[in-house]
């Protein structure tokens, strides 16, 4: 069985977000492989190491820097990668992203038994793409899983999701879609030999034309949604300390809850 892992290049969590001309100022941002996608790659590589999977393909849509995210996936143990890169893709929304990813799967022709995603990209954070891909391909999906058992011979997968107060267990026919989160596994540190090997693993580039798409079908033109503006969250105000004798403190607090924020 072959599996495909979807990898997004995102700003490092330690990046300080700044806005410029109503867009993200990208000049000083360091990019990494989306941490949730790391769980997905790790899980796929473990399935390969367990002998259940014979090829792990990493796919990303993004600008040139997305190649680094793919390289990280290859260093964890993915076998090969696909990069969909085209200036016309700038401004694509999640629907277009999913559409392009599906096209790339078709173009490559990989006979996948499972598609693995991160549950969310830490930048866009819509959680949309995996569900959209699953829908477009008519595949069953389990989101935000913390455990995965795959039986390629029986053609099924069992995935556990954490839900309010317990776990939900899904059994799905292959091929299927899963999205990964913390708790599923501990992504390994890529070893130096594997970082070196990653350099030699093949990365296939696709342009829009390669995928048989026209610029009108993607980017802003092909999107249903458009981001109108960005704003930074309001600066956190320092908390207010209520001091004094217990009775005074209680009185003050009640007054605050009643009069100021009006929850009582």
């Amino acid at each position: 069985m072959k599996v495909v892992v979807f990898c997004k290049s995102v700003p490092d969590t330690e990046t300080r977000v700044r806005l410029k001309d109503n867009r993200l100022d990208k000049s000083e941002i360091k990019y990494i492989l989306n941490p949730y996608d790391e769980f997905a790659v790790e899980e796929a590589v473990r399935m390969k190491e367990a002998g259940k999977v014979d090829e792990v393909v990493a796919v990303s849509m993004g600008p040139e820097r997305a190649r680094e995210a793919l390289r990280s996936a290859l260093a964890i143990g993915a076998d090969r990668a696909i990069l969909i890169k085209d200036d016309a893709l700038d401004g694509s929304d999640t629907y277009v992203t999913a559409k392009v990813l599906v096209k790339a799967l078709e173009k490559d022709g990989v006979e996948y038994g499972m598609l693995l995603f991160g549950q969310q990209a830490i930048d866009g954070d819509t959680w949309h793409v995996p569900g959209q891909v699953a829908e477009m391909l008519g595949l069953p999906q389990a989101g935000s899983i913390i455990k995965l058992e795959v039986d390629p011979d029986a053609g099924k997968a069992v995935a556990n999701r954490l839900v309010e107060g317990g776990e939900e267990v899904h059994e799905m026919a292959l091929p299927c879609v899963v999205t990964c989160r913390k708790g599923l596994n501990e992504p390994r540190y890529p070893s130096l030999p594997n970082i070196m090997k990653a350099k030699r693993k093949p990365v296939q580039d696709y342009s829009l034309a390669d995928l048989g798409l026209s610029p009108e079908e993607v980017g802003r033109a092909g999107s249903f949604t458009e981001v109108l503006s960005y704003s930074l969250p309001p600066k956190k105000e320092a908390g207010r300390k209520v001091e004094g004798e217990p009775e005074e403190v209680v009185q003050e607090l009640v007054k605050f809850l009643k009069d100021e924020i009006k929850v009582l």
């Binding site: 680094e68 540190y189 890529p190 070893s191 130096l192 030999p193 970082i195 070196m196 990653a198």
Partner: protein, 380 residues
């Protein structure tokens, strides 16, 4: 001129930085207290290929370059200075000379397990009577058929307790002074070899510093590294490279202390505001950041020169001299920024301060570095 890591160098740095944050930093204080680097750390470093960073793949290494190696030492040292010198002494002082001077058989037998981290190495030059003046070592090696017999005592040997392969320097011909020194590979189980006392130290307490005793220690003649009489040159080769490692270690220690100082300055409130608002504190932080960056660029340049096969010993001496001084100054100021808190074990800066001092001493004291630099610039 390009001041940029390659993609692999960046990946290595990011990986080791994460490793240091997640695995070393949380354990560094405890390892310092217990006086050992925990076995699981050795295991992890080995699995990740950090014991043979620039050894070619055919000899069990990762096949990367010297810049990656130096970066690894800095990032490890940022988490735990003892772990930094473990890798640096192993690589620069034993792995590198075997790679450079070893026969094919020696590479297969010794380099392979060292590069893979299956075995740990130590470098034994210093003796109670011979420190900076290495030519005055008293340890001797006498040829006896197809063996050499070693006699003498080494001390202050890093990794001495955990190593199973030692690079030992001894005089094969005392009369010939530095041309009478030779280098030998000694395995832990060699008859007549034993480990003596372990030092209790101010800093890098998790790194073992051992006495080694050779009493009619018999080793096969094929364990001679290079030729008889080549030992002094091999040793100088070791230290030229090792100084890059120690400089990187010093920068790692300074970086760790600096990061603590910034964090503390932003959160400690006095006179109704974070102390980071005071210009006196800001200037300290600015000086620290500037010195660290300069020290880092020096060791990176030395590493790059070595990788390119260009002369680098002048630069590596400068890098070590400067970086060790930076480590001292930065860790001292980091404590100052912390006030009394920095003087207690509750905050890691006291450990960084203790760890910094050794970088001015081993692999050539700061005085010895100045001698090297001055001699070189005045010659011819």
């Amino acid at each position: 001129m390009r001041f940029e890591f390659t993609e692999e160098q960046r990946m290595v740095r990011d990986m080791v930085r994460r490793l240091a944050d997640e695995e070393l930093k949380p354990r560094a204080a405890e390892m310092d207290k217990k006086g050992e680097i925990f076995p699981e750390i050795y295991q992890q470093l080995a699995e990740l290929g950090l014991f043979g960073v620039y050894v070619p793949e055919e000899y069990g290494g990762a096949g990367m370059d010297v810049v990656s190696y130096a970066t690894v030492v800095e990032e490890l040292s940022r988490g735990c200075a003892s772990t930094g010198i473990l890798v640096s002494a192993h690589t620069s002082l034993v792995v590198d000379p075997i790679l450079h001077y070893g026969t094919e058989e020696q590479k297969q037998k010794f380099l392979m397990p060292l590069a893979k981290g299956e075995k740990i190495a130590a470098h034994a030059m210093t003796e109670p009577g011979a420190g900076t003046d290495v030519v005055s070592i008293a340890t001797t090696a006498k040829r006896d058929g197809d063996h050499y017999i070693l006699n003498g005592t080494k001390h202050f040997i890093t990794n001495g307790k955990e190593a199973s392969i030692y690079l030992v320097f001894a005089m094969t011909d005392k009369e010939k002074r530095h041309k009478g020194m030779s280098a030998f590979i000694v395995e832990k189980d060699a008859p007549g070899f034993s480990i003596g006392k372990l030092e209790h130290k101010l800093g890098i307490r998790a790194s073992s510093t051992a006495e080694l005793i050779f009493e009619n220690c018999r080793i096969p003649a094929e364990n001679l590294l290079g030729e008889e009489g080549q030992g002094f040159y091999i040793a100088m080769h070791c230290y030229d490279g090792g100084r890059i490692g120690v400089a990187a270690q010093a920068v790692g220690i300074a970086q760790a202390a600096y990061e603590e100082a910034v964090e503390f300055a932003k959160t400690r409130v006095q006179f109704g505001q974070p102390i980071a608002n005071f210009q006196a504190i800001q200037f300290k932080l600015a000086d620290m950041a500037t010195m660290i960056e300069a020290a880092r660029l020096l060791y990176l340049k030395a590493a790059w020169l070595k990788q390119e096969g260009k002369p680098y010993y002048q630069l590596s001496a400068m890098a070590k001299l400067f970086a060790s001084d930076v480590a001292m100054r930065v860790t001292r100021e980091a404590i100052q920024v912390h006030g009394g808190y920095g003087f207690t074990e509750e905050y890691p800066v006291e450990r960084h301060y203790r760890d910094a001092k050794i970088t001015e001493i081993y692999e050539g004291t700061s005085e010895a570095q100045r001698l090297t630099i001055a001699r070189n610039l005045l010659k011819g």
